[in-house]
Subunit: 249 residues, 8 copies
């Protein structure tokens, strides 16, 4: 239940459109719901503007579907990340209106009320084609959080003119998410080109001494462009939430 | 030279207050100035809103002073981080108006014109007393960038009531910087309490398996609170610039 | 053969209920039994209060069944951890009364005599739903060792009110086992809330820079809450034994 | 202020020995006291049975002395670990009755009231002479927490008869702390000999591939003796607190 | 072609049993034979007393069979380690008299002449049942090199009486190979019990912080028993060759 | 489009063989072509002498085929590395004249015009048979880049006479690529034998403490032979490009 | 003794300008000279075109001076790298004509005959001012090896226009050495700009997660620009030798 | 007390040269002597042929002197490794006849009776001059253990003819110890040249990616020469003891 919905209820009480017992009813669910195997934090939307997102890895399809159902029951939007294909399929039969994105490995179902829009757009920049799944996870998440995204794809630094050619797109963004594997060098260049916040996402793309993304992670943590921040390897979701915290602040 | 200063010059030309040759003179320095041992990026202020900051480690006192002088000559503010005491001393004799902060290991001298203010304040939260030098570096940098900061000190999670007691201070901030060493657990708690952007700074405080901040760094990269972003170990400066990118966006 | 059983035999001799030759017979097995591929330590129960537990990984189904049979022959309880499904199946046809727990990957068969009860209960706290298999391994082990456990599930620090809401459950426990992956921050919070011994179990839940549990392990080793101890990644079994050493001391 | 002291006050009120305003005065300090650079958790003793311990590393002598004074003012005992010689000296001039242990790098001053005794003794076992400073830190901490310790020194596994010769001392302990560097093998042997809880402390003793204690840490985390728990490298303090949590439970 | 065979030829020439042209023929192969994808070192037996051993991993079945055939053609013994089941099968159809050991993952075929015997026997000690494949690889290799081995199985340090019970077997050996995973502590105990050379083999047995054998490897490199030497993780073959270098010296 | 082709066009214009509009047409494609999921850098051949090479890992067969088609459309040669068998098969049905090398995991199709030849030959030296796939990737790449290669196979340092026997082959090369796994020692020996540039390629061949090529990588980075340079683990492609940069300089 | 000098002697013999006994005398020194603590490889110049270079770290001043004297005695040039100030001072009193470079930590003394010149110049590009000592070591080494170098200083990617402004300098070089610490991103950009060989040198400049140059090293090994090769951290000497192998090939 | 001395006593009793009470007196000391800070293992010489060696690092000068005195009191030889200069000086004033080796960082005092000689000599081979301190520690230890050593110095693989020129010296040795830092490649070459046991000692010589000896350690563990064993980084002492275990077996 989002902050907006609670405010609505309170205004209706103030206006006499709702009496206290009705309002109580509307607000009367427990903030934390226990399912035995999970403790759902229904207050999160109220506290942070977006509902609890389900991290699909390590959960059974049954667990995912049950948690999703409880969240949907309260009218909140449901987003599952890192969902396995079979769990996604089962979720689609459990709830209607679920949108599965195979590349991003996400399942999404909009909430009852429109999501508040973030102010300004978010650019998602990728160094290479292989980074697309992570970028896609970020894009799906941003959409779920009420943000609009623009894509700047496959502009790695080995062909530096590619990213320079897109400077205007970058300059137009309120936040820039830069997704890169292998050498992870792109955020340093982008961070020097724009004044906006830059969130770097290392990916596990590469082999050998890329160490499944450690090389890119370290590059980004040591970026010579000041003020670049970093999230976990392949964490497109986290980068999107971080961007949305900014556009909604 | 900041964007504001250039805009001023252009307006004066438009208004006839400055003729073209004077304006040319005012704008006529090279964007990049070569000192042999350094290539100063005078355009950075124009491009990103803050001038080039001098990273003091690995530079001789002479190099620092010469770079600082060139930046000061253009009227820009000078900030040196990780400056050794003797270099700071030499800088004070080279330029007047330099403010040295021994805890933060910084030297700062304001520019000719007031720095544009960021919108909203930045909270700097520390887990322990030993994290203060990093927090102080962030605070000095924020001041130089035109941001105001509030401190929430020594509220590590082992006494969870300490941070809960400061929830209102946290809620009032536009951006929250959380500085923690050892287990680095504080950003996960703070990230769950506030809706604002949270920037986590691991510190090298600790011993043994803290591995000079790696433990805290990994904790933060894996934060179970969504959308927490991370900077390098002990990088109070970078966290402040990231925060300022947000408040100035 | 447990210490209690030996004491019984000796008392019966003292009381004349058993003559020496019968007692000798009862005690006459070799403390160490060699199977060629394994050397069973039958004295362990005598020495430490619990019989040798079979670590199933890396052993063939045949090896597991033969070792289990020898232990069962002496009337001791049999516990196998990390047992593969097919080995568990074969064990069920070899011995009767085997209880297989697929989530915990354990197989258990009670001994001939009741297990001595530990004093006080053990709380098993998990940060997330994905940590349940490790928690379940701990729970099965505790039951086998004569301890009773209470569960506090999915109370990770990103929603700090969840764990605070369970403070009384935590305060009631003689020992608290805290199971967490990703940032591994929960033991630091719990360690600050209770006075009882806290045993932290990092799990391999997470991705990227969680490094299969290293991040959580390091967090726990560096816990800012004093006196938190740690076991190996995913080692629910070890945490349970450690807890049981305390409740039986 | 310990739990016992608060109970005393309440009993005195119940008995009429103290009127309410006096009692209020006695209890009227804030549970959390802010010094600007530190937030002292005066409730910790109440919550956990021992007061906040000052970690000396990374704090200035002035900071240590001021925090210590505030704790001492409330009548609580003061323990500082990892204190530098000069800070220890300054502390001795600030407070009287401070006991400095140069080997353990600790400074200790007893509280106004006797510390509640733990039940059972704690054995501190070391593998080599070079591990003594860590063992000494544990011993000082145990004394401060009201526990009595016995020493079993230099009984590393390369001369296995040395530790076997001390089996009775080990068997008599309620908790065993095992301190070892280099191969860190001793806890595995001790863990197999005793039924009591075993807390392993890796030390940074060694060179080359000991990696400042990582080798010993990993050995202990992988102990083939079940139920051995581990604390951070060189963390004699933490092992002692963990032991004391057991003896006071 | 072993040193013994060459000496034979030379003696026969000296005795007139062989004329020079026949001797030349017998000795006339190139010491190094190129197969395009491999360069076989036929002189190795002459130089070091044992022929080139084929490391099966990363070679195709065809490559293994062709190299094996060329070695067999010269009358030398053939040993293949880390051979996949299908390659072993193909080798059995290519050459006759091949002995495949599935546990050890080896294929062996004796040479035309008996292998010179090593002086003294080699003890192969394992800490646990799961270490058997590595021990078996060592045993097969020793047999191929002309050494006889005795087994001491599953005597890990958590039940220290198990290894002490076998002291005489250990004392009787000329060389002791100790195979252990997890904590890798056994070589430190054995190294202190015997005066003979001790070769430690870490295994990848374990999970979590065993890091696929790194924990055991580090333990062994830091053994507090002097003069213990170490080979690569799971390298039973290498340990056997090292032992054989000693028994043949 | 290679530099040579552009020069041709310009000469034809100068000679009147081509009028300006025809020349414009010939040169009129965009240097960077966007496919949505990829941004092809058609100028690379012009800038660096070889066209963009497609890294097959992490790309779908469809993506590979589309990118390859666009490059082929411009008459440039197509090289795909790390291509999966099914993608290679699909590519063969998409374009004709594709040459698939299963060992090297490459697919290659020559461009419309002959590739400019490098000056001097490149020796590809391997330490063992298992290193052949990496060497093969280098060989295919060199052929595509217009270089000729000679092979020196399976000459690892454990049989030092093997590499010494090939000194003349090494001395004849303009550049030497040395491919080695396990101990990675061969480049140090070769680097001391020849005066030519030596490029070392660590491979992931080995097990245990080879850490998938890290051991060989570190060996090569620390080569006691001066001036040996190193590329990523298993990066036969990169070594070939580096060699070709030299032969074409 | 360089190859040129030997050829001279041989030509003089052919021309009758030198009789055989004189020539023998000139060539009669042992190729390897033993000093007890060192074995000097006087043939290296003959074999590789440059004499043995003395790595100063870990050698006493006496050892350095004696080795240097022996090399100088044969008329070869002497280069010492990583020389401590006091050893450099002692060397200057031992030999005349020694040129000490404090920034590069080198001592150099030209040989009796001019060094053969490399063909083409070498560009040394640095990302920041703090990288200068490593660049200087490369420059001194290049000079000693007969190569001429051009400098492009402080053009890190955070201000991408700085390196783009120097494209012509880069294009003019036969070999480009790129020196960078922190994120190590510059070689990827340079590698995409030029067709010449690019040798990347990671430096230990940075802090925290730069891990003394590991971050930069990994970045460079994973460069998305093809054909970039890498040397050890801070190894300006090695990069120069590698460049010189190219210019002399 | 060595095995020989005990046998002597027993023979004298058998011969009547010593009565039982005298023999008892001679043998009557405790095998383990406790000094409070140390537990001396006087039986080690009896069990293993050499007395307990004192590892000087981490022990105070007083502790070293007291332990040394107790060992000397029993007539055993005293060897201290890693001894600091001031501790060595104090030891010389405590005991007479102490031989200090500053390069090896050892102090040695012969026992009352001659040490039994090992059979065959030990070759100590070093790759570079900087490896000498480790080689010297091995040499001093071998002398103390009754072994004779020959030196082959500075024969690293970058000048492969240097080690080939010493093949006969290598072939004459019963055991070969190879000491190398940086790339650690020398043991692989030596292991292929000789049939004798080869013990490899990595040293911390090098910089950057040598990681204080890790690179050399990994190289040696992955040696492509079969049967090379490895000891800890810089552990010349351990290599010598391992060699002596062989020569005395």
């Amino acid at each position: 239940m989002r902050r907006e919905r609670v405010r609505d209820v309170l205004h209706q009480v103030a206006d006499g459109a709702l009496d206290v017992s009705q309002a109580l009813e509307a607000l009367s669910f427990e903030p934390v719901e226990s399912l035995g195997f999970a403790t759902i934090d229904h207050h999160r939307a109220l506290r942070q503007g977006f509902p609890e997102v389900i991290y699909g890895a390590g959960k059974t399809a049954n667990q995912i579907c049950e948690i999703a159902s409880r969240i949907a029951d309260r009218g909140d939007g449901v987003l599952v990340t890192r969902i396995a294909p079979d769990a996604a399929e089962q979720l689609c039969t459990t709830l209607d209106g679920v949108d599965v994105n195979a590349v991003a490995r996400t399942a999404y179902r909009a909430g009852a009320e429109p999501t508040p829009r973030g102010i300004g757009s978010v650019a998602i920049v990728t160094a290479g084609t292989s980074d697309l799944p992570v970028a896609e996870e970020a894009a799906v998440t941003l959409a779920a959080l009420g943000d609009c995204a623009t894509r700047v794809t496959d502009v790695g630094v080995a062909g530096i003119h590619r990213v320079l050619a897109r400077r205007e797109d970058l300059a137009a963004a309120r936040v820039v998410i830069v997704v890169a594997g292998m050498d992870g060098a792109l955020p340093s260049v982008v961070g020097g080109l724009v004044a906006a916040p830059v969130i770097a996402v290392p990916t596990s793309v590469g082999y050998g001494a890329s160490f499944h993304g450690i090389a890119a992670l370290l590059t980004m943590l040591n970026s010579c462009a000041s003020g670049v921040t970093v999230v976990n390897i392949d964490n497109g979701f986290g980068a999107a939430v971080a961007a949305s915290r900014i556009t909604h602040s």
